[in-house]
Amino acid sequence: MKFDTPATTNPIDRLAVVGKPTPRIDGPLKTTGTAPYAYERHDAVPDAAYGYVVGSAIAKGRIVAMDIADAKAAPGVLAVVTADTAGKLGKGEKNTATLLGGPGIEHYHQAIALVVAESFEQARAAARLVRVTYDRADGAFDLAQARDGATKPEGGKSDSDVGDFAGAFAAAPVRLDATYTTPDQTHAMMEPHATVAAWDGDRLTVWLSNQMIAWTTGDLARTLDMPKEKVRLISPFVGGGFGGKLFLRADTVLAALGARAAGRPVKVALQRPLMMNNTTHRPATIQRIRIGAERDGTITAIAHESWSGNLPGGDPETAVDQTKLLYAGANRLTALRLARLDLPEGNAMRAPGEAPGLMALEIAMDEMAEKLGLDPVDFRILNDTQVDPAQPDRPFSQRQLVECLRRGADRFGWAKRVPTPGRSRDGRWLTGLGVAAAFRNNLLTKSAARVRLDKRGGVTVETDMTDIGTGSYTIIAQTAAEMMGVGLDRVTVRLGDSSFPASAGSGGQWGANNSTAGVYAACVKLREAVAGKLGFNSADAVFADGEVRAGNRSVPLAQAAGDDGLAAEDGIEYGDLDKRYQQSTFGAHFVEVGVDAATAEIRVRRMLAVCAAGRILNPLSARSQVIGAMTMGVGAALMEELAVDKRAGFFVNHDLAGYEVPVHADIPHQEVIFLDETDPISSPMKAKGVGELGLCGVGAAIANAVYNATGVRVRDYPVTLDKLLDRMPAVG
């Protein structure tokens, strides 16, 4: 189905099932521990041997010698895979560094061997016997130092320049020129990357934990130099991804190689201490923001430049993209610069680009509002735009940022905020309120599904879409139930299998809208098949209550399906509506913090997010996405930082003790409001996504609240007590 004109009324608009706060249909499997995750597929693969990954002990250089004799001779060992023994490997299109290093080493903890043994403990003990001699090379590990050598990245990430920024900024009566930094961050999802691999002749099946089945199937075939048709991926449950599982990773390649070497299935879970340096991470940024405004607060000039680093061939963190669209202003400039670093591979983490970009931009807006003597909510409203500022004939399909800000301010009690910082106190706590806008683009990408109607009137949906804890199973079931006029209990959803039609996958908060639109398309086709079989005019047929009706005839779906059932496969594809319209999601975050007057410990007290993101397919799972994202924003604002050892070139705090993410005690009352909105430009579902929107801006709202509480402006994340201490009031 080609979607190239705005949606009109369709069966989804009945909202008999879609739009209802439906608990996740996979919830009982998860709460009873019976959802099968990759590493636990004993049912499918009862005889898997265990693989243990050896990571490089240097960040850059070469392996001079590798002695695996003792490891191979260790009890229970079945095979040792290294670059030497693996044969020639290709590299996935989505990978920057190779997934099995050697002799060249590209980053710390790059996998250099897999030891396969009868038991996990045997594999682990033998892994210690792999003896490696390295020739260490110097590398670049410090972004601040590498910044001056940064260059314009190749391909697609061009600078933008509208009007005359330099002139307008110089002429502006009120100006801000400030630099912000965000650190490297790791996804720290609960389930590690894990794979069980089994060969059947020249065919390979892998059970894994992955967000993007089609990408990863292709990249696994490419890496192993085999036809894609002979590779099958199965990933029905994913214990968190946040972008860390968008791609083929070492666990899958090594499990496949290990299984081939051992002659039996092999399972591999990346060891937790390996994950931070072995896999991808969100790269650190240095961001310079300049804003010029008239005295009345009208922005006349806005510039956002960002520097980040990556391995050769890697991409920049696109931290400036939202600044092209979020606020008005006739003269604008954005630029991305990329430095070469020899740290582990930087790549997508939840809301790549916007998450760190808004952490900077939305502090800058707070600073600018203060310079102008304006309330930060009013300043943002004043500079709203309903069109793409660079192409004024290109409107937003929907844009309710102003409503989000107004509604949130009202709900949160923003009017009670004391504008002068450091003036509000509650016992030992200095208290403050902060606000930030949330913004994340709505991305359209094709997505397909297969739908079957069986002789009992049941509907089965199959698509390679994944559910990474987001609620995909449920919203897909709601979509199919709505379209086919059956109850949710009549719908079975099967996901995450490369033998199913290719979907959008889970990334970029595009999963909900695109995957359900694909299911919509397949259901439209199935409805036509049903109507056709019954001799109904499909345009008149109504699917409801397990029946199909037209005129004065009604036929139960079970009967219509017949003994053989009916099936249809289709997908959604998009025309140029995303070129003609700017499609984005919006929100406003409000936060209250307390800062201990003596120790400067920061604790969040209240959080509110107001979101405008098209039709909310399931308010329950959407809310879960937003509060989870807000929690992640607390981490980003207050504690998350991969500490770089700039001598040896690695992330030092590479476990969950050293890399702190929020615990329950850090998370106070959270409230989420969704504005009533449908966006007929986005898809037949009229929906968008919220999974990343909820993170965008949270960090800045917290940093702004800390400023309001203390009068200390911290521009380097995370905002930790050591950055406040010397400007806190005297104790006692």
Binding site: E121, T599, L638, L721, V731
Partner: protein, 316 residues
């Protein structure tokens, strides 16, 4: 795998003898630290002597009016003990500031004293660490040291001791009771129990190999306001950046010990004479020899400010 043998000891002395016989034997009680270290192959015992059955899990009055805490009393139970809450509140508070409910349910009094450092370089077996592999060097010096020691460290090691409980024990003047393989017992004042690293950072306590802690004894109650204040980036389940254990008497005199700043609970008795003069004077003496790194210099003002808040709280 790395096989190890396992036995349940019949008596404290037998346990001590069993460990002494084998240089690579270890006691195991709660296992909250040892098992993690074994999984990471930082500890590689070939024999484990399980002391959990030794009935060292009572809390009883000591003859001098103090309290004798069995080595195996779980952190949760100790924190909840009525006498501890009433007479040694600083200990109860310190315990509850540590780890998580699940860990406190398993962790023992003796094991808590014997926790290994949480220095990230100690945990990374691809990095040099004099504590983990004597003589290999210290990657933490010149590296990421935000959590690490500002005082009491050496050119061989700048790790901190991670325990909260031990800081309270130090301020309470606890005594560690042990039994040796020959059945002889001794008592070690807590001040002498943890060693500074010097050039042997792998030697962390006064215990001999095979010597088993049987109890920790608290002297009779010190009275005063007893406060434990732990400062950290997140609200729970994090090691202290800085912690302050204090006992403050109504006349302003008292005692103070610090956590998170040194390779052992940090107390300087002579600094306590300054308590009536306030936090600045006490902190100056406590940390007079401090040699912070760029990453952790903030701990010095943080100690002073936290102590100031504690003294203000004590005053009420």
């Amino acid at each position: 795998m790395r096989p190890f043998t396992y036995e349940r000891a019949a008596s404290p002395a037998a346990a001590a003898a069993a460990v002494q016989r084998n240089p690579d034997a270890r006691f195991i009680a709660g296992g909250t630290n040892l098992l993690d270290l074994m999984k990471l192959e930082i500890e590689r015992p070939i024999h484990l002597v399980d002391v959990n059955g030794l009935k060292l899990d009572g809390v009883e009055p000591a003859p001098d009016g103090g309290l004798r805490i069995g080595a195996l009393v779980r952190n949760t139970d100790l924190a909840a003990d009525r006498r501890v809450r009433r007479d040694y509140a600083v200990l109860s508070r310190a315990l509850l500031a540590g780890a998580s409910g699940q860990l406190r349910n398993k962790a023992t009094t003796a094991g808590n004293l014997l926790q290994r450092t949480r220095c990230p370089y100690f945990y990374d077996t691809d990095q040099p660490c004099n504590k983990r592999r004597p003589g290999s060097g210290c990657a933490a010096i010149g590296g990421f040291s935000r959590q690490l020691a500002v005082i009491g460290a050496s050119d061989a090691c700048i790790a901190t001791h991670p325990s909260d409980m031990a800081v309270a024990m130090r301020v309470l003047d606890a005594t560690v009771e042990t039994v040796r393989p020959d059945g002889a017992t001794r008592t070690i004042p807590i001040a002498d129990f943890h060693r500074l690293p010097g050039d042997t950072p792998h030697v962390e306590t006064a215990l001999e190999h095979g010597e088993l802690i049987t109890a920790v004894t608290l002297p009779k109650p010190a009275g005063g306001a007893q406060i434990y204040r732990k400062v950290r980036d997140r609200a729970s389940y994090a090691f202290a950046l800085v912690s302050v254990a204090a006992i403050v008497q109504p006349d302003g005199s008292g005692r103070v010990a610090l956590g998170g700043v040194a390779p052992r609970p940090w107390r300087v008795e002579t600094a306590e004479a300054e308590m009536p003069q306030g936090a600045k004077a006490v902190a100056a003496k406590l940390l007079a020899e401090a040699r912070p790194t760029h990453d952790n210099a903030f701990k010095l003002p943080l100690v002073e400010r936290t102590l100031g808040a504690v003294l203000a709280e004590a005053k009420g």
